[in-house]
């Protein structure tokens, strides 16, 4: 594509294409940076995502309900309305690193930290909660999913995912300016037979990233 000043630049594509890798020219510094980044991400193997459980017995452990809150808003919702130190105990943590955030294995976290913690209801140990306020990069989402769900028995498991999206991203015939917000929408699998507490998400709206995974 020729620009106003006559030089030719590659047009960005909505299809999210990468340049063909053979054609990419890397300086030795770029290569070194890329190698370091890869080492940090994958240092512990498995895409750099580690799940550490404690006190849950042998895997796969029994789980009847699993509530996952993804993003700071959803995590804050759980902190404000559900979690407390009397009824819930920490049973797991996810350690991951990517260019946007890093989590640690500390369990006394501040709301402004990036963390991913798992809690269990003391009165019914098959009920688990997850607060994931860190950003899980695209190439780590699958590993997160496999490692977390890989540790639990899936028979009779009911999963609820809580997440938020900006109202401006919501596609609707009217303008989002006039919409009463915040509002709830849901997606459910056909196996979920219970009543849903809000309308279902209409096309053409979609959900991406970790909640989608």
């Amino acid at each position: 594509m020729a620009t106003f000043f006559g030089e030719v630049v590659v047009a960005p594509s909505r299809a999210g294409l990468d340049e063909e890798e053979e054609e990419r020219e890397e300086t030795p510094e770029d290569r070194e940076i890329r190698r370091e980044l890869e080492k940090k991400r994958c240092g512990r193997g498995g895409g750099g995502v580690d799940v550490l459980w404690s006190g849950l017995g042998p895997e796969p452990f029994v789980c009847s309900r699993f509530v996952v809150a993804i993003g700071r808003n959803a995590a804050a919702f759980l902190s404000s309305f559900i979690l407390d130190s009397v009824c819930w105990e920490v049973v797991g943590v996810v350690k991951l690193w990517n260019e946007w955030c890093r989590t640690s294995s500390a369990t006394n976290v501040l709301p402004t930290d990036s963390f991913c913690l798992f809690y269990r209801l003391i009165s019914d140990p098959t009920v688990l909660l997850c607060q994931c306020s860190c950003y899980v990069a695209e190439d780590q989402q699958f590993q997160w999913l496999e490692k977390v769900f890989g540790s639990m028995q899936k028979e009779g498991l009911q999963v609820t995912i809580l997440s938020t999206c900006p109202v401006a991203d919501y596609k609707t015939q009217e303008s989002t300016l006039t919409l009463a917000s915040p509002f709830l929408k849901a997606l459910k699998t056909k196996e979920f037979q219970e009543q849903v507490c809000c309308p279902l998400l209409e096309q053409p709206n979609i959900v991406r990233d970790l909640p989608a995974a």
Binding site: M1, A2, A11, P12, S13, R14, A15, G16, L17, D18, E20, E21, E138, D139, Q141, F142, Q143, Y170, K171, T172, Q173, E174, S175, T176, L177, T178, L187, K188, T189, K190, L200, L201, E202, Q203, P204, N205, I206, V207, R208, D209, L210, P211, A212, A213
Partner: protein, 271 residues
């Protein structure tokens, strides 16, 4: 990688012996994917399974081909397979971009699934950057095709009859005249990789692509799907009496998910 929908049917659902498989490339303007949407929506194809893969960005939504309240609540994800046994047609739809460094493993897994499910041939719908055309390509039709040697033997003659144009090879080093000519599909995503791998694996594959730019690519999708239809005759093409050309735009059904492609309604306060 392929997970059939109806687990009871088991292997019957994943045996596509003799079928034609349509695959979109995630390419400039998403034209291949839009064209596939038109095929699935018009032929009312049934979902038979999906790909469980870590190569594509995850996404989920409700049924993009919903026609009524009743069928609008089925979940849909980033890589799903639809089939129409009456036309021996199976279609893969891809709805999100590739994760960095994952397009090669995806191609390998896809081609190995193609072999395993015994598809007779694969047609890749794709596109390429219009601004990269050379002087000759600027004239005439913006549509091109490619055939692997195995498919060339089967249908090469038909392409001549249809008067289709084969994708030209370009010089490996532009400007230097006596270099080798190579296949170059800028903006085509995994198209070239799929094609070259299929050539070496003896898979019967055709690539149908259109030169286009990013923008409103709905017309491009119609042009590409009509091009496909000239060959596969998926829907009846009507000859328009007024200008004596085949105009199939009215034959294709736009899916409900194509609403609001360019944003929401405007706030009245703007005026």
């Amino acid at each position: 990688m392929f997970v059939p929908c109806d687990r009871g049917r088991g292997s019957a659902a994943s045996d596509f012996k003799g079928f034609t498989l349509l695959v979109p490339a995630v390419s400039v303007g998403n034209v291949g994917q839009l064209a596939i949407d038109l095929v699935i929506s018009t032929l009312d194809m049934t979902k038979v399974g999906y790909f469980y893969t870590d190569c594509l960005v995850p996404m989920v939504g409700n049924n993009p081909y919903a026609t009524a309240e009743e069928n609008s609540t089925e979940l849909s994800i980033n890589a799903e397979v639809y089939s129409l046994p009456s036309k021996k047609l199976v279609v893969l739809q891809i709805r999100s971009p590739f994760i960095k460094n994952k397009y090669r493993p995806f191609c390998e897994a896809l081609l190995s699934w193609v072999k395993g499910s015994r598809c007779a041939r694969v047609v890749v719908l794709s596109s390429s950057h219009a601004y990269q055309r050379d002087d000759e390509q600027l004239l005439g039709t913006p549509l091109r095709y490619l055939l692997t040697p195995d498919l060339e033997k089967a249908v090469g003659g038909l392409m001549q009859e249809l008067n289709w144009k084969e994708m030209e090879k370009v010089a490996a080093y532009p400007g230097i005249s006596d270099t080798d000519k190579v296949l170059h599909i800028p903006g085509g995503g995994i198209t070239k990789l799929l094609f070259t791998e299929s050539c070496s694996k003896g898979i019967q594959m055709a690539v149908l692509l259109k030169f286009c730019s990013e923008g409103d690519n709905i017309p491009d999708a119609f042009v590409l799907v009509n091009y496909l239809n000239e060959w596969l005759q998926l829907v009846k093409s009507e000859v328009s009496a007024s200008n004596n050309s085949t105009d199939c735009s009215s034959q294709w059904k736009i899916p409900s998910s194509w609403r609001l492609l360019f944003g929401n309604g405007l706030p009245p306060a703007l005026f």
